[in-house]
């Protein structure tokens, strides 16, 4: 039922996949989505209504449709791209739509008085954004970004759909080869827990520290 030697044997395989694929995709996609998300958030605020509305629709559509489908369509449509590239791009764009909401909340939570003080000092709009609003907004949004990165991390197994040898794919394969899944799946589960739980606690501490 439970084979401890199998358990030990899976460890290097899965940890390897974790470090080489799962972490890499998570980090790269998080950066991409954090940057893109900010672009969307500012665009939605500053664009005139006729341009902002279609953008909002597209972002909502992406946000409300499943990630595996996005992975599949980009994978098949652009088959000159490596699966990992597809993964990073799709995760990045998909999660940027969530992060755009986080940025929006972060910007909205800045008290109106900050804007008014900037007006009272005759600061032009671009300077107001750069010097007053964005530093505060990004600081407000940082914990959310961290939480979304953790969520993204837990979604990396979707890469199975496009044959990326990430950790859970390897676990399933290992299980099939050795006719026993429980050890591999347990390791995979543990790796997730060990990575995500302390990070989430850290995010909470970070949020408390960042509050003014």
């Amino acid at each position: 039922m439970w084979d401890t030697s199998l358990f030990i044997e899976t460890l290097p395989v899965l940890i390897g996949a974790f470090l080489k694929i799962t972490l890499v995709v998570t980090v790269l996609s998080s950066i991409l989505s954090a940057l893109l998300g900010l672009v969307w958030a500012i665009a939605l605020r500053e664009l005139p209504a006729w341009a902002a509305a279609p953008l909002r629709f597209v972002l909502d559509f992406i946000r409300m449709t499943p990630l595996p489908v996005h992975l599949l369509v980009i994978y098949y449509a652009f088959n000159n791209l490596s699966p990992m590239t597809v993964g990073v791009l799709v995760f990045g764009v998909h999660y940027s739509t969530y992060m755009a909401e986080s940025y929006r909340a972060g910007i909205d939570s800045i008290r109106k008085g900050q804007w008014e003080a900037a007006t009272a000092l005759s600061l032009p709009a671009s300077r107001t954004w750069r010097a007053v609003i964005l530093p505060q907004a990004i600081r407000n949004t940082l914990p959310s970004l961290g939480n979304w990165a953790i969520a993204m991390f837990k979604d990396t197994p979707f890469l199975i759909f496009i044959s990326v040898p990430e950790m859970v794919t390897e676990a399933r394969q290992f299980g099939g080869q050795h006719f026993s899944y429980v050890e591999a799946m347990t390791v995979a589960g543990l790796l997730f827990l060990v990575a995500s739980y302390p990070t989430a606690v850290l995010m909470r501490k970070l949020e408390k520290k960042l509050a003014y």
Binding site: Q114, A117, A120, L123, A131, Q136
Partner: protein, 229 residues
Amino acid sequence: MPTDQTPGSIPGHENNGGVPRIQFEDVVKRFGSTTVLDNLNFNVGRGERVTLIGPSGSGKTTILRLLMTLEHLTDGYIWVDGDPLTHARQDGKRVELKSKQVAQVRKRIGMVFQQFNLFPHLTVLENITLAPREVRRMPKKEAEEIAMRMLERVKIPEQAHKYPGQLSGGQQQRVAIARALAMQPKVMLFDEPTSALDPEMIKEVLDVMEELADSGMTMIVVSHAPRRP
């Protein structure tokens, strides 16, 4: 609603006998269907200190906010030193000015808010030097010298490198005053400057405002209840 002020009526502060600092001409301000200011006409002469007192909703804060272009004029004109602030007369018609022109005139006015509105992520010194450096394009050293002088004027030069969150309410409001003064305005507006302060801190802010008044600054103060000055 304020009563008309006769320019030059305050002893010791001669009006330059010319253009009033602030002129409200037939100002109308409506919010939806509510008319808050109805054909308001008044002047504030140079060096005058005007206090607007009245119940909530009487429009006194609106007057300040219109002057600071935080609200939009429904009708009428506002003049600063004889120059139009947001609207001008051209060929007998009322014309709205472009934001660049508005900014030019608005620079002469400084405002202090009830909620201080200091920038929490910048130090006291950075709060004060931000606008002079960005808007008046002052070099950093010069801006910091002016900032330190302003901080001395409000009696807290030692707080220059602290963050607003580390200061008391009274200190924060004094920094806000210094920040507004650093832009060398001709008129200072105060919107209930002490309403958000604990009683023991009100005096330090009032002292600063009194010193400001004695130095000849034109001031418009909105207040809940009559207090000195």
